[in-house]
């Protein structure tokens, strides 16, 4: 076998093998148009090689001319497919140049079949036999076709296009790709074009072998495509490692993680999920919550998932589940999942067990209520004189009225009208006494915090009523000013009474060393920016240098004080989302009093107002 036959056969088979591989890839992934174009180019290169062999083995000028004419078909295919391969694979090259090349080359192909024997020779007049790779091959001789310039111009445009595209890729930073695809294409296209020009203008007498050069391009492209495949394989390994890592994280996390489809069927659960419900994941996948939870709980879970899907945003809910060791509370974050096309396909939930935290919170709340109760009881014992008076007063009135009635009825004639009035008064006084007892009992009650909309001025009035006798007994003048339209606040009636009572009793104590004329207690209610503020001012001894200390537990200035009052007040106010603080009294805080001298303390209690329309 001759060298020529061997080498050209190898080119053909190599090109066809590569083409077959990439056609297969394209069949698997129809969007891989670059692979299809590459196959086309490889097949065309194989055809080129075939035509070249035909030309080299031509025995008559006619045979040579025909072979050359048909060679232009694969040449067209190679050029066009390379142009689009560059556009697709490298995402570079100017579109207008690409289309110009296609049009020019197609025009060239038309000329090839319409003008002269072929594009290159108007007529092949004879064959010359030249030695090539140790044997004699045919090389055409004849009249060159001037239209050949069009073809060669298209080749030059092709070189420019590839050079431009390679520069773009180079600038983009893909230097290796620019060198392998751009550089090699440029080199082989340039070399092939030069050889064609030299041979066809019969400057050198050589057989025409563009397939040798285009084979170089195919090899370079093939290398590039293989590199891509290798990179894909690496990526898939990386992805697998990443997936494994994610799985480990999911399984290691102490929260329950799960993904459900739009119908609520589980798509994914983590290990914690399996262990909480004691069901292996293969039995859970594809099931809804109703499979492993009681209906009402499962319904609640479904509702929150639907909410996340409806809003398309993250939803936080507290959920409960029944587990072998009792009911658990979970804080769940649920968010919808979207596929790359932006279509929602499910909901992911991450549920953290907050049972212990909830219990601790409940315990703290219970302790706070308990402390508040103790402090109330202590305060009431301080107030017992006042309360006894509050109770005594209606009893005294009832007795006197009753005895007056006895006398009126004993008269002749009895004064029945007055007796009726007396009975009405007795009833109302009795109710008043009952009210005192009810208030007392509610203050002594050990109750849970219950929030409801309250009118602060009503509370102030009630508290002043409770402390009335103490205030009179201490010769304290009380000023109460309330702004108009003070909005309601959300609060626990008893606890707010307790806070105010505490502040008032503190104020009394603070002023006990003052002469009676300098004992002024001022309560002012104001509101601003959706907050209601109650300010309790006294003209007493003022604050210690480090004012915040008074809110610390066991800090007391009283001989008999526990030092818990203000610290409990502050925790009560904090539970109302409010603030309680103290500052030195300004003269402006007591507007109506004759004493403008400074000294004394103002306690501010600020509570958020109830939203109107949302009682």
């Amino acid at each position: 076998m001759s060298w020529v036959c061997g080498i050209w056969s190898m080119i053909v088979s190599a090109c066809l093998t590569v083409a077959a591989m990439h056609v297969l890839i394209w069949c698997k992934k129809p969007t891989a148009w670059a692979n299809l174009l590459f196959s086309l180019m490889a097949v065309a290169t194989a055809a080129l090689a075939g035509c070249e062999l035909w030309m080299m083995r031509a025995e008559t000028p006619g045979q040579f001319g025909t072979a050359l004419r048909w060679l232009h078909v694969p040449a067209w295919a190679v050029i066009v497919s390379l142009v689009f391969f560059v556009r697709l694979h490298l995402r570079a090259g100017r579109p207008w140049l690409a289309w110009t090349i296609c049009v020019a080359r197609t025009f060239t192909l038309l000329l090839n079949f319409l003008v002269g024997q072929n594009l290159n020779y108007r007529e092949v007049t004879g064959l010359r036999h030249v030695p090539f790779l140790g044997e004699s091959v045919s090389v055409g001789e004849g009249i060159s076709n001037p239209w050949m310039l069009v073809g060669q111009l298209s080749l030059v445009l092709w070189v420019v296009f590839v050079a431009d595209a390679a520069t773009t890729v180079w600038r983009r930073g893909d230097r290796q790709q620019a060198l392998v695809v751009g550089g090699s294409s440029l080199f082989f296209v340039f070399a092939g074009t030069m050889q064609a020009v030299l041979v066809l203008w019969q400057i050198i007498h050589w057989p025409l072998t563009p397939s040798l050069f285009y084979m170089g391009i195919v090899a370079a492209m093939s290398y590039e495509m293989t590199r891509e495949a290798l990179r894909a394989a690496e990526l898939s390994d990386e992805l697998r490692a990443r997936e494994h890592q994610l799985e480990e994280i999911l399984d290691g996390t102490p929260s329950l993680v799960y993904v459900k489809d739009l119908e609520g069927r589980l798509l994914l659960v983590n290990r914690r999920f399996e262990s909480v419900f004691g069901v292996p994941r293969q039995h859970l996948i594809g099931k809804t919550s109703h499979y492993f939870l009681p209906k009402e709980i499962a319904d609640a879970h479904r509702a929150s998932s639907l909410e996340a899907m409806a809003t398309g945003a993250e939803v936080f809910v507290e959920e409960v589940t029944d587990e072998p060791d009792g009911r658990h509370t979970y804080l769940s974050a649920k968010f919808p999942l979207f596929d790359p096309g932006g279509k929602m396909y499910g909901v992911c939930g991450i549920s953290t067990d907050v049972t212990a935290r909830k219990q601790a919170e409940a315990e703290t709340l219970r302790q706070r209520d308990e402390l508040a109760h103790l402090s109330r009881v202590a305060m009431l014992s301080e107030l017992s004189g006042s309360l006894a008076h509050e109770l005594n007063q209606p009893l005294a009135i009832i007795l006197t009225n009753a005895q007056a009635a006895q006398r009126l009825l004993a008269q002749q004639p009895p004064d029945l009208a007055e007796a009726r009035d007396i009975l009405a008064d007795i009833v109302s006084e009795d109710q008043r006494a009952g009210e005192v007892i009810r208030r007392l009992r509610s203050l002594l009650k050990r109750g849970e915090t219950t929030l409801q909309p309250l009118t602060v001025n009503d509370i102030i009035d009630e508290v002043l009523r409770l402390a009335r006798n103490d205030l009179i007994g201490h010769d304290i003048t009380v000023h109460h000013s309330a702004a108009e339209d003070v909005p309601q606040v959300l609060g626990d009636h008893i606890q707010l009474q307790q806070v105010l009572l505490n502040l008032i009793l503190n104020a009394c104590d603070a002023m006990s060393a003052n002469p009676p004329a300098r004992r002024h207690l001022t309560l002012a209610t104001t509101h601003r920016d959706r907050a209601v503020r109650i300010s309790v001012s006294d003209t007493g001894h003022g604050l210690p240098p480090d004012a915040e200390r008074i809110f610390e537990p066991f800090y007391s200035t009283k001989e008999h004080g526990l030092g818990l009052g203000l610290s409990i007040c502050r925790s009560i106010v904090a539970a109302h989302q409010g603030r309680l603080w103290a500052e030195a009294r300004g003269a402006a805080d007591v507007p109506d009093t004759p004493t403008t001298a400074s000294g004394g303390t103002t306690f501010h209690l600020e509570l958020p107002a109830v939203d109107e329309g949302k009682p």
Partner: protein, 211 residues
């Protein structure tokens, strides 16, 4: 004179209590004038007829004991019955020392209250009698000549005419005449009457003291 039918001033800052007390006392036939604060009472109080004051100790602004003080300082002759929700012993002692008729604790029994009110009005009547007597004595005393007053002072000090004459450096007969005129002018029928008048007027003690 009927001591139980006078005017009772009532002072209690609790309107319900004031009303009840008014009914009780009115039913017993007293004229009642009620007030809820010490200041309004002071502003409208005028001494007239037989009257007493029933007063609540614990009141804002001016409390019961302070009011008592004021009235005493002003020389008002108004016997006071105190009422209190929770009186303590020092408070009641202070009130009684300052001249209160009684110190009662609420709830007060009608009988106790009425007894106290009657006692207060009785005292008011007595005070009125004393004041009236005083006025008479004072008027009679002012009609004495200086010499007659000297003689009277010595007489009520228990001196005999002879001693008086010696002290004043005059004759026993002259003293006798002065003495008869003093007795006549002072409206005294006996020496005891004269001594009582002198006591009321607070005169004559100095003579004995000087001895």
């Amino acid at each position: 004179m009927n001591a139980t039918h006078g005017t009772v001033f009532l002072l209690d800052d609790e309107p319900g209590m004031l009303k009840a007390l008014t009914r009780l006392l009115t039913a017993e036939g007293f004229a009642v004038r009620g007030f809820t604060s010490a200041n309004t009472f002071l502003a409208s109080y005028r001494a007239a007829g037989l009257s007493c004051l029933v007063l609540d100790v614990a009141m804002p602004e001016l409390n019961g004991l302070e009011l008592q003080q004021r009235l005493t300082t002003a020389g008002a002759l108004l016997p006071i019955v105190f009422l209190t929700g929770h009186g303590d012993i020092p408070m009641s002692v202070q009130a009684i020392k300052a001249g209160a008729v009684d110190f009662l604790t609420k709830p007060v029994n009608a009988a106790d209250l009425l007894r106290a009110v009657r006692a207060a009005l009785q005292r008011a009547a007595e005070q009125r009698d004393v004041v009236a007597e005083m006025a008479v004595f004072r008027q009679r005393y002012s009609s004495l000549t200086p010499r007659e007053r000297q003689v009277m002072h010595h007489v009520v000090a228990g001196q005999l005419n002879k001693q008086i004459a010696a002290d004043l450096g005059t004759g026993e007969h002259t003293i006798k005449v002065h003495r008869a005129r003093v007795m006549e002018k002072m409206g005294a029928e006996s020496l005891a009457d004269l001594v009582r008048a002198a006591e009321r007027l607070g005169v004559g003690k100095s003579v004995i003291g000087n001895r």
